[in-house]
Symmetry: C2
Subunit: 321 residues, 2 copies
């Protein structure tokens, strides 16, 4: 077994692929005071990467840079193997093409030093499917960010069948160390968690446009001026806990349960068994952390007001620019 790098020992990260996601990762790593070694075979990749980092830097500065953070601490290399040489962590953000990921991850696993994790930004491929060409897949894990990786905290971490537990743990520890909100999944699931939820919305939206039921603009406004204002503060489960009023999730499920059978989306609902009902009620209770409903409502109200103002100010700043 390799000795994994401890999070604070990681000083240099290789960014393999420097598009929207890879470039966003590079900007974030730089902002945390790390050095970045990049590779991207696309034409003009170096210029594009520079633009991505420069565009992100004001936001990262506003959020607070780590001591020593330097937007110039980035080098572009002619091969992936050269970019990986000497790196303490590898973040792969190549195009979402399974065959490409398979051969690239095999190459990265071979080039990475002992104890160096190779994390893939894949939006949904299980690592068990991507790792098949690697001679030693033990250091390969999924580290799935959200766009833009320099601002959205979530990273979903999950290993494949042949990933070593140390690699999964080291990836999660590193991401947490640099300020990410990590969900460490114990089983592989296509699309992980957040993309499954986001994809459900997206597919329903595409169906609605295809059927002439709504326009993309109506869909967008229905979210930005509607439930989207609640989701930064309370996720779907806690949101519906509050929708139940003083009776919380239990009342909500008992009251709106029948609408699960209604044709409100093209996705069929699961059977609302007593067991599922109880799991949702217990989960809402844990998410609420024992706080009384009035406190949750007050928190949501403060947050929604602040979010509305924040978005309005961000839009107005653009209008003035």
């Amino acid at each position: 077994m390799s000795e994994p790098r401890a999070p604070h020992e990681i000083a240099t990260v290789a960014c393999i692929g420097a598009g929207v996601i890879g470039g966003g990762w590079a900007a974030y790593f730089l902002s945390r005071g790390l050095a970045v070694r990049a590779w991207d075979p696309g034409p003009g990749a170096g210029d594009r990467l520079r633009r991505t980092v420069d565009a992100a830097w004001p936001a990262l500065t506003e959020l607070g840079l780590a001591p020593g953070a330097d937007p110039q601490a980035i080098t572009l290399h002619p091969t992936a193997a050269e970019a990986v040489a000497g790196a303490d962590f590898v973040q792969e953000s190549a195009p979402e093409d399974l065959e490409l990921k398979r051969s690239l991850l095999a190459e990265l696993a071979a080039a990475a030093g002992p104890g160096v994790v190779v994390a893939s930004s894949t939006s949904g491929f299980p690592m068990s499917d991507m790792a098949v060409a690697a001679a030693d897949p033990s250091a390969l894990v999924v580290g799935h960010p959200f766009n833009p990786p320099y601002l959205i905290p979530l990273v979903e971490v999950v290993g494949g069948r042949d990933s070593a537990p140390w690699a999964v743990d080291a990836a999660a520890a590193f991401y947490r160390h640099i300020g990410k909100s990590v969900i460490e999944m114990t089983r592989e699931l296509p699309g992980f968690i957040a993309n499954r939820l986001q994809e459900a919305i997206w597919r329903e939206a595409l169906h609605m446009v295809a059927a002439g039921e709504a326009t993309p603009e109506e869909i967008d406004r229905s979210i930005t001026d509607g439930p989207g204002l609640r989701w930064p503060v309370h996720g779907p489960c806690l949101t519906f806990h509050l929708a139940g009023g003083e009776g919380g999730m239990a009342h909500m499920l008992d009251h709106f349960g029948p609408s699960l059978k209604a044709p409100w989306t093209r996705l069929d609902a699961p059977e609302l068994t007593p067991g599922l009902r109880d799991d949702m009620v217990a989960g809402a209770g844990r998410s609420a952390g024992g706080r009384p409903m009035a406190e949750l409502v007050a928190e949501r109200d403060r947050a929604v007001i602040a979010v509305r103002r924040a978005v309005a100010a961000a839009r107005a700043a653009g209008d003035r620019a």
Copy 2:
């Protein structure tokens, strides 16, 4: 044909049903300087309504009250017909039970004065299904809010088969007049727009909990720390326009199109026909309003930073309380 009330002529609103939604509507109407006549047959409804209004008032004050807004300008009445007498607009927020809605809306339509709209807060029933018991269903429309109605701007307005065009237009005009973000739908669709999208997320979440794939807490955090941070500023379509980088929605669909076939959610995707692709690209272009990608990215970044800070401050204020 009745002469509809012009928005500025509406001074008194009847709130039929005073639970979480009806009480939230009442608080909002009061904050806009309107008087409210309420009816709710439940035990303790008066006290509950008072608590709902009092809990919402600090938030409404913070957002800015209309001149003359008075949290005491609300009366509770022993019958629905009495609450509706003299009201210029009726908002029905009874439990989500089709038979109950049918008989109640028939009663409200009969009791309302000429030119007075009766709007239902139903979460998803089409008005054509709810209006069947009314002798004259012309004034019956859907005016679907989001919880809490006093903070979330979106209201979806749509008529049924027998709704009069004047009633649909008058409802939309009134809601806009009092500061709501109105989507006026031209065809009935179960769940309207936003609830179809929200329900798709919710059903996928329930499936995941039922299958042991994720916990409610993981689901909530995957949204609050992930895509939920983007949705108050850019809806699902504009979000994916930005995910395409400089190539926008067109690049995104061409690059991630294959993932529509991946098992990323239990909802089957539509066929991504050239027509649907072009509709999405054109819609993203209209949503972007001709603004270059760099400007959209800068707007999103400003907003996400501000939203993160707003939520953190709202949570910290609770911890201090």
